[in-house]
């Protein structure tokens, strides 16, 4: 298949972002004043399905149940507490200005829009900054043990892309503590009967009847049973698709299936090429490695990043004199230094490693050095701040970071792209909502540190409970299709056929083999740096490998009990299709912005060169019947409150 413009049938779907009227700072208040409400006694007449129990899913399910809606919650984990939000380390932003250092809602809003390289929807980001302060209050009320000063007040630290300290944290385990807070609130509702919990149940399909999301089809992972569940609204809070790269900091089971199946049923997938490559991960040590481990960005508060100036350097790090070290982030970005945003720090590391200045046995890392911090603050203070991260590093890399600098390298970490949603977090399919990392909404082309936790909880606690009510109010008294509707039966049958088909191929290669090969292609051609030539090549390699997947896959065991190989096959299938869309989107976006860096579009000093005239828009793709023939829809981005500027951290 050749890549020509004719493939892109432009604007097949009418996109209405439903941004409320008024100045950006008043939009959310205006929305809330004008939205429709559901009487408390009527809420119990509505059922809402929430898929995923991470920060967004757990907080949405708990809050909706507290309000009185009937909630059915689904997780493919054994427990709602396992979702990958738990692994977030560094912190959560909140515009509290507790430090008195000039923070405000407007500044957090501005930092986030700028951090996202002016590719996010202003109205959504402003709302996020507004509710950020409520999130901190809510989580403290839940008993989240945030770090405190000696006087008992909350402590803050600084994160990349910000010049204020607005990040709240619980040691290096902030995600864990926030998720446990939300999980406990969620569990209370399970105990009270407000939430029906379906664990070890994976979403296989979305059912759309007469243009409205009417329910889902799930597979019980223990018994293999396929079943249908109907509801008045469906929320997908199913995370991102970073595992498309195979090697990533995502948990092993993170996948795109829920979002992808919604996409195949008509939901638009926005900006799939916006993926975040996190600069501070432990470099790959051998080819059998199955996942990469993140070292929190908070380490860059005190750690200094450097490489030896001499590519042939053989000495130990501590024996290399100061003048033969290149503290390249401090050199290139003096005003943000080691706290330059993630996309910028990652590319800087990649360039030096590509030039042969990498460190470590495979020369595939850069140093993150704490010796100066240990000298300045003392061993104990450094241990207090980062002790658990240092231990984690030592366990994995076998080196003591108090004595030798850490070695770090960028890795796939987060995906800004996701299901297209309007201001209400509703996809273009009425009744189908997407929250947290699963939607595309708030981070533009690059997410700032400590903003993912903020967005997940914002969506779940403070946005969806309002907007879902607004969507449900007009449905009062109307009958909804039940699971005996032929569409449900057809979806169940298709799901059964799909899994039987994987088992029937009986080829020679495991799903893991295909996932690894697929990931390699996406990493090489749609990773930190992309080119037209490379993306075109990837769009030739991917369909060929996908064809091989469909004819040479081997899945052992059977479909009617716990079979992790079979689960994996379904997820890899969806990653293949998504991978083609990621490359297509990256190819179509002829500019560089945030995490999307096209080598052809850069400034003289190697920074991302945006093209606001042609690409100041959201690219929202519609399923075209085949992963290679998607239809492009465009939502123009308009900036009223911030001035479109070249992003500079120098």
């Amino acid at each position: 298949m050749t890549l020509t413009d004719e493939l892109f049938a432009k604007n097949t779907v009418k996109l209405d972002s439903k941004i409320p009227d008024g100045p950006v700072a008043d939009k959310w208040d205006n929305y809330k004043e004008n939205m429709k409400l559901v009487n408390p006694n009527n809420k119990r007449k509505f059922k809402v399905i929430v898929v995923g129990t991470g920060l967004a899913g757990a907080s949405a399910a708990a809050t909706l149940a507290e309000l009185g809606y009937q909630v059915d919650a689904f997780t493919f984990h054994d427990s709602a507490r396992r979702a990958h939000s738990i692994a977030a380390q560094g912190g959560i932003n909140g515009a509290k200005n507790y430090k008195g250092d000039g923070d405000s809602v407007h500044r957090l809003f501005y930092d986030t829009v700028k951090g996202g390289d002016f590719r996010a929807r202003e109205a959504n980001v402003h709302r996020l900054a507004q509710v950020s302060v409520d999130i901190i209050d809510q989580m403290v009320a839940q008993g989240v043990p945030f770090a405190r000063e000696y006087g008992g007040l909350l402590d803050n630290r600084s994160f990349g892309g910000a010049q204020v300290s607005r990040t709240f944290y619980a040691r290096g385990q902030t995600g864990q503590q926030l998720l446990l807070g939300a999980y406990q609130q969620f569990s209370r509702q399970v105990g009270l009967g407000g939430i029906s919990l379906y664990n070890r149940s994976e979403l296989i399909d979305i059912v759309v009847i007469d243009g409205r999301a009417s329910g889902i089809v799930v597979r019980d992972l223990v018994t293999g049973e396929i079943s249908s569940h109907a509801a008045h609204a469906v929320v997908l809070a199913t995370g991102g698709y970073g595992n498309a790269f195979f090697l990533s900091t995502n948990a092993m089971a993170c996948n795109v299936t829920a979002a992808w199946r919604a996409h195949r049923k008509g939901a638009l997938f926005a900006n799939p090429c916006y993926t975040q490559i996190h600069p501070t991960c432990i470099p790959q040590s051998d080819d059998s490695q199955s996942k990469l481990t993140l070292m929190s960005e908070s380490l860059r508060n005190d750690g200094r990043v450097w490489v030896p100036t001499n590519p042939d350097e053989t000495r130990q790090a501590r024996d290399i004199p100061e003048e033969e070290r290149d503290y390249y982030l401090e050199r290139l970005y003096p005003s943000f230094g080691n706290l330059a945003p993630r996309d910028i720090s990652s590319r800087a590391a990649k360039r030096l490693v590509d030039k042969g200045q990498g460190v470590g046995p495979k020369k595939n890392g850069v140093y993150l050095d704490f010796s100066e911090a240990i000298e300045r603050l003392g061993h104990d203070v450094v241990q207090e701040r980062y002790g658990n991260l240092f231990e984690m590093y030592e366990r994995i890399a076998g080196e003591n970071p108090y004595e030798t600098p850490m070695r770090i390298y960028p890795a796939s970490h987060y995906t800004m792209g996701g299901l297209w949603v309007d201001y209400e977090l509703q996809t273009n399919i009425p009744g189908l909502y997407a929250a947290g990392e699963a939607n595309f909404s708030d981070h533009g082309a690059n997410r700032l540190g400590a903003s993912a936790l903020m967005q997940g909880l914002s969506d779940g606690y403070f946005v969806l409970p309002y907007t879902i009510g607004n969507g449900l109010a007009p449905l009062l008294g109307k009958s909804m299709p039940g699971i005996d509707h032929p569409e449900f039966k057809a979806a169940e049958e298709a799901a059964r056929e799909r899994f039987n088909a994987y088992l029937a191929i009986n080829g020679t290669k495991s799903p893991d083999y295909f996932h690894r090969e697929l990931g390699k292609i996406i990493w090489d051609y749609c990773g930190m740096e992309r080119t037209e030539e490379g993306l075109k090549k990837a769009l030739e390699l991917l369909p060929a490998l996908y064809q091989e997947f469909k004819t040479d896959l081997r899945v052992t065991g059977d479909g009617d009990n716990m079979n992790q190989t079979l689960e994996k096959a379904g997820r890899v299938d969806d990653f293949f299709q998504l991978g083609m869309l990621m490359c297509r989107d990256a190819l179509d976006r002829n500019e560089s912005c945030g995490g999307h860096f096209r080598s052809e579009y850069q400034t003289d000093d190697g920074e991302a060169l945006r093209d606001d005239e042609n690409y100041c828009h959201v690219a929202a793709w519609q399923w075209g019947g085949d992963p290679m023939t998607p239809n492009l829809n465009v939502e123009p981005l308009e900036f009223e409150a911030v001035h479109l500027a070249t992003r500079s951290y120098k």
Binding site: D134, D137, T508, T556
Partner: protein
């Protein structure tokens, strides 16, 4: 820097379902780098099994960063293996040597029925949390976060207990299959904080009673603390017992007035 281990013999528990009879199956790993994690070794084995047309060994795992608590293996009779304060997913092959024989089993506890091979059902833990392991604070009504100062010492102590990952190693290591460390950790986390005081005694009563329904009794062996990948101290059990006794013996209305 990296070395290769040779000739590792794995004795792995295989069990087709909850009611099936299980048995050990032996596999030999010819060579593996010591940089590999223990679970990566199982990944490689599984890939080989699938390619040969055999069923992969089922085991629970997810984040591989020691924080989600999904992984759960009894390695040579030790929950999470030989390295102290380390979950299975953070265990690396450099902890082993060539020609070792390693026995891998699921958690064994009556409250955690085996689903298949090395995977068990730990939902009894969720039932304990559902019965009271929370602070009731519906979304929306929270006061400003800095309204209640919490001493750093108290916040740190709460955090020490809150670090529990809910993996179940404490139950698996306990000769009685007791869940006191898990339950005590949550109680200690919430009851140490000012926000947790209102429900302090109702919480401990509900959680302990749910725990007693599903798990064995604690006889202070201390195996739980030794097995805990987050090194949570058994002091939390003492705190739980003290609060439970108070809740039972005193009139709760009086307690609320104190």
């Amino acid at each position: 820097m990296s070395n290769h281990l040779k000739n590792i013999t794995l004795r792995i528990w295989r069990q087709a379902g909850p009611a099936a009879k299980g048995n050990f199956e032996t596999h030999v790993v010819d060579e593996i780098t010591d940089e590999a994690s223990f679970l990566e070794m199982l990944d490689i084995l599984n890939d080989k099994l699938v390619t040969e047309g055999k069923e992969a060994v089922v085991f629970d795992h997810d984040c591989r960063e020691g924080i989600c608590g999904t992984c759960s293996l009894m390695i040579d009779g030790q929950a999470h293996g030989p390295q102290r304060g380390t979950a299975t997913c953070q265990l690396h092959m450099r902890q082993f040597k060539s020609n070792d024989t390693i026995t891998i089993e699921p958690w064994r506890a009556s409250a955690f029925p085996i689903i298949k091979d090395l995977m068990v059902d730990r939902s009894a833990f969720d039932r304990i949390i559902e019965s009271g392991g929370y602070i009731t604070a519906d979304t929306g009504g929270a006061p400003d976060a800095n309204l209640i100062p919490i001493s750093k010492i108290v916040a740190d102590a709460a955090m020490d207990s809150a670090a529990c990952i809910g993996c179940g190693a404490c139950v698996a290591a306990c000769p009685n299959g007791a869940a006191n460390l898990f339950t005590g950790a949550k109680i200690a986390h919430l009851s140490r904080l000012p926000q947790g005081q209102a429900e302090r005694y109702s919480r401990v009563e509900a959680m302990v009673e749910t725990m007693d329904e599903k798990f064995g009794s604690c006889t202070n062996h201390g195996e739980c603390e030794a097995a805990c990948p987050k090194e949570i101290s058994i002091d939390v059990i003492a705190l739980m017992n003290k609060d439970f006794r108070k809740a039972k013996f005193a009139n709760r209305k009086d307690l609320a007035r104190k």
